[in-house]
């Protein structure tokens, strides 16, 4: 059942993205940026955690979870260090994603030849 909900919720988020591309005529960069902001806003109201509990990877794999993790890291540190913590903790939970994107992106660019 976990897999079914991951498929349905993850696919559903992609449909919203596709409608923003086709109907609202946004570029992919605009769609991704607005999804990250949307994830942070949903997390501010504690809604995104419920979606993750329900859909698992269906909610953690789309880019919306990036905004959610940014805010989560900030709030965790804010509990300990107050206002400074918001700035200190912002990349705490997303470091794995950003570090691996930089690392693998660089390695692939060094090894492979550009296509087309």
């Amino acid at each position: 059942m976990n897999f079914v909900w991951a498929f349905v919720v993850g696919g559903g988020i992609c449909i919203i993205g596709q409608l923003l591309l086709d109907v609202a005529k946004l570029t992919p960069a605009h769609v991704m940026s607005s999804f990250v902001v949307a994830g942070a806003v949903l997390d501010a109201f504690d809604l995104y955690d419920k979606l993750i509990e329900f859909a698992g990877a269906g909610a953690t794999v789309p880019i919306t979870s990036f905004g959610h993790s940014l805010l989560h890291g900030a709030m965790e540190q804010a509990d300990e260090h107050g206002f400074i913590g918001v700035a200190v903790g912002i990349f705490e939970l997303t470091s794995a994603g950003i570090a691996s994107a930089i690392l693998f992106g660089f390695i692939v660019a060094v090894i492979f030849k550009p296509k087309g």
Partner: protein, 152 residues
């Protein structure tokens, strides 16, 4: 001058009626299936990390995202991911694999300009906007939420 402007607006209006409408429904079906499959693969990976590598349910998200990023960087290097993107649209752009694809493809594109000025400088050319807006939004919302928690 005004006549030219008239023509320009007329042309835009007229050409719009002749432009093919995007197949909204089929595009959504493709995005749903491909996006859903990528998320199912993510669920499979995270259950694997929970069962075999002793991650908790919440912590398993990090290695899962990192593995998906590795896979999509490789797929971008082989030129497979861009073909998937043409087919699936948002289905391949919205998951975190689309983020990795934009990092890797812009790095590859500028390889001819060298490793420092080409690859490293352009790595975040497309993905930078995601990080900028994410951080700004999270920072503002974090301050608001912290102030709110102090008031209550």
């Amino acid at each position: 001058m005004s006549k030219e402007k008239m023509n320009e607006t007329n042309f835009e209006k007229m050409s719009k009626t002749y432009q093919p409408k995007p197949p909204y429904f089929m595009n959504c079906v493709k995005a749903f299936i491909v996006g859903g499959l990528i998320c199912t693969l993510g669920e499979l990976l995270s259950e694997m990390y929970v069962h075999w590598f002793n991650f908790s349910d919440e912590e398993a998200g990090n290695p899962t995202v990192a593995t998906l990023i590795l896979l999509s960087s490789l797929a971008t290097g082989f030129g497979v991911y861009d073909k998937l993107g043409q087919f699936a649209g948002a289905g391949s752009a919205v998951p975190v694999t689309g983020f990795a694809n934009s990092v890797t493809s812009s790095a590859l594109e500028y390889k001819s300009e060298g490793y420092v000025l080409g690859v490293a400088t352009n790595l975040f050319k497309l993905a930078g906007s995601v990080i900028v807006f994410g951080v700004v939004a999270a920072y503002v919302l974090g301050i608001i939420r912290y102030v709110w928690s102090l008031i209550i």
